[in-house]
């Protein structure tokens, strides 16, 4: 069992959900405020980290 991989899948999905909510809150123009941009940047960094964990855990 890879606890890290399981956690990374959920964390990645949760992070994508946060981005989804930004899309909803800013629909239909999706013009992001500075705070929104910061939040999305943070989410994308987290997402990359989760993908890295999945690569390490599942493709080694």
């Amino acid at each position: 069992m890879s606890r890290r991989a399981v956690d990374a899948v959920f964390q990645g999905l949760f992070t994508l959900t946060d981005i989804r909510v930004v899309l909803r809150r800013t629909a239909p123009l999706h013009e992001l405020s500075e705070d929104d941009r910061k939040a999305v940047l943070k989410s994308l960094a987290d997402l990359r980290q989760q993908i890295g964990i999945l690569e390490e855990e599942l493709l080694r």
Binding site: F10, L13, F14, T17, D18, R20, V21, L23, R24, R25, A27, P28, L29
Partner: protein
């Protein structure tokens, strides 16, 4: 884009401002979406169900505490989650309405209230609305007396919607409850458009039962809702089974008859519970929601020939509007006919209005940000101007 096979992705909320009158308050929070990701499997909340084997006793996830929180949230003593408000109506009607008994509801009641009464064998009698589409306490008291004369007994129940689904108008709940008490008639408060949207305190209102809708007003998946009541009535409506198998001798513990045992056993209750902390807070921001709604309503009123059919000033974000003398006039000669309006709205990223609607229609601004409300207002006036309708 598709989820799989023939199932298209539903991305209305991501690509547009959705003003569908029944969908606004049920839009999920991020936390609800996350809970659904984790708890989508069937009986997912039952992993740690232990004696006495009932949903409202499960401690992990903390459904027991959630039930207590729900009761407090609506100012009552006990609450249960239900598969939609309609199942709450049904449980109340099944418990208190005998075959042939009269039950009062109103000229603006939701059809599911009629069906709940019918299923219980009751006879529905309506309280009329006044000229302003309001249900008043005087009217309710008169109807109680009329029905009592007609049936030789008072109504078994009185159903009252705090805000109705047709106009989003506020009705005299507190005064009606007081009048009903004077005649010893139990009051069933339909909070489908209030619980989870604005503060509701059942005891303070003087009602016997509070029903709310999770998917309509509590940022929850369908079907979900709640039924709450006082200690006194909880004994009756949440009564436990006495059934026993005649061959096997089996008994069924603390399962509640009106709920058919457990109700929401997976994604629905988890979505509801995950949204709850947010929902509990958001009811305190009702005035901001009304202010956003006013921006849109005022924009519509500025379009010549447009009339707000709901009470005005607005007390709810759900509004009924008459555009027969504005957008419907354009539809008469437009090449897209009646579809020009919803087509123009969609082009500008506004969804949720019934395709082809140009006469009398409803919308709901609940949950929009200020920027979205201002954008929506500008879209309505913009479409009017583009089509030669004066805007003042």
């Amino acid at each position: 884009m598709r989820c799989t096979g023939d199932i298209e992705v539903r991305d209305l909320e991501e690509v547009a401002i959705n003003i569908d009158p029944i969908q606004a308050g049920g839009r999920l929070t991020a936390d609800a979406m996350k809970a659904i990701i984790a708890y989508g499997d069937g009986y997912s909340v039952c992993d740690n169900c232990r004696k006495p084997f009932r949903l409202d006793h499960i401690k992990k996830p903390p459904l027991d505490a959630f039930h207590r929180d729900l009761a407090r949230f609506v100012g009552m003593d006990e609450a249960r989650v239900m598969p939609g408000a309609r199942r709450g109506f049904q449980a109340v009607a099944d418990t208190y309405v005998e075959k042939g008994a009269p039950v009062l509801l109103t000229a603006l009641s939701h059809y599911t209230e009629f069906l709940a009464i019918e299923a219980a064998g009751g006879i529905p009698r309506e309280i009329p609305k006044d000229a302003k589409n309001i249900i008043t306490a005087d009217s309710a008291a008169s109807r109680i007396e009329e029905v009592t004369r007609e049936f030789g007994r008072p109504p078994a129940l009185l159903f009252i919607d705090h805000f109705d689904y047709q106009f989003g108008n506020e009705h005299q709940v507190r005064e009606i409850a007081r009048a009903a008490r004077a005649y010893d008639v139990k009051v069933m408060y339909n909070g489908a458009y209030t619980v989870g949207i604005l503060p509701v305190d059942g005891k303070e209102l003087g009602v016997d039962f509070v029903v709310g809708s999770g998917h309509k007003s509590m940022a929850s998946p369908a079907p979900s809702g709640l039924l709450a009541t006082t200690k006194e009535h909880a004994q009756e409506i949440f009564r436990t089974t006495r059934a026993k198998g005649d061959l096997t001798g089996r008994e069924f513990g603390v399962k509640e008859v009106e709920l058919l045992g457990c109700t929401l056993m997976g994604a629905t209750i988890m979505g509801m519970m995950a949204s709850f902390p947010y929902v509990r807070e958001r009811v305190n921001r009702w005035q901001e929601e009304l202010a956003n709604g006013r921006i849109v309503v005022d924009a519509l009123r500025s379009i010549e020939g447009t009339t707000i059919l709901s009470e005005y000033p607005r007390k709810h974000t759900l509004t009924r509007v008459d555009t027969r003398n504005s957008f419907d006039r354009v539809a008469e000669t437009h090449k897209k006919r009646g579809y020009f309006f919803t087509s123009a709205l969609l082009e500008k990223g506004i969804g949720g209005v019934i395709p082809g609607a140009t006469r009398v229609w409803k919308f709901n601004t609940y949950g929009l940000t200020r920027q979205q409300a201002e954008y929506l207002a500008s879209v309505f006036t913009g479409i009017a101007r583009e089509n030669g309708i004066p805007v003042t």
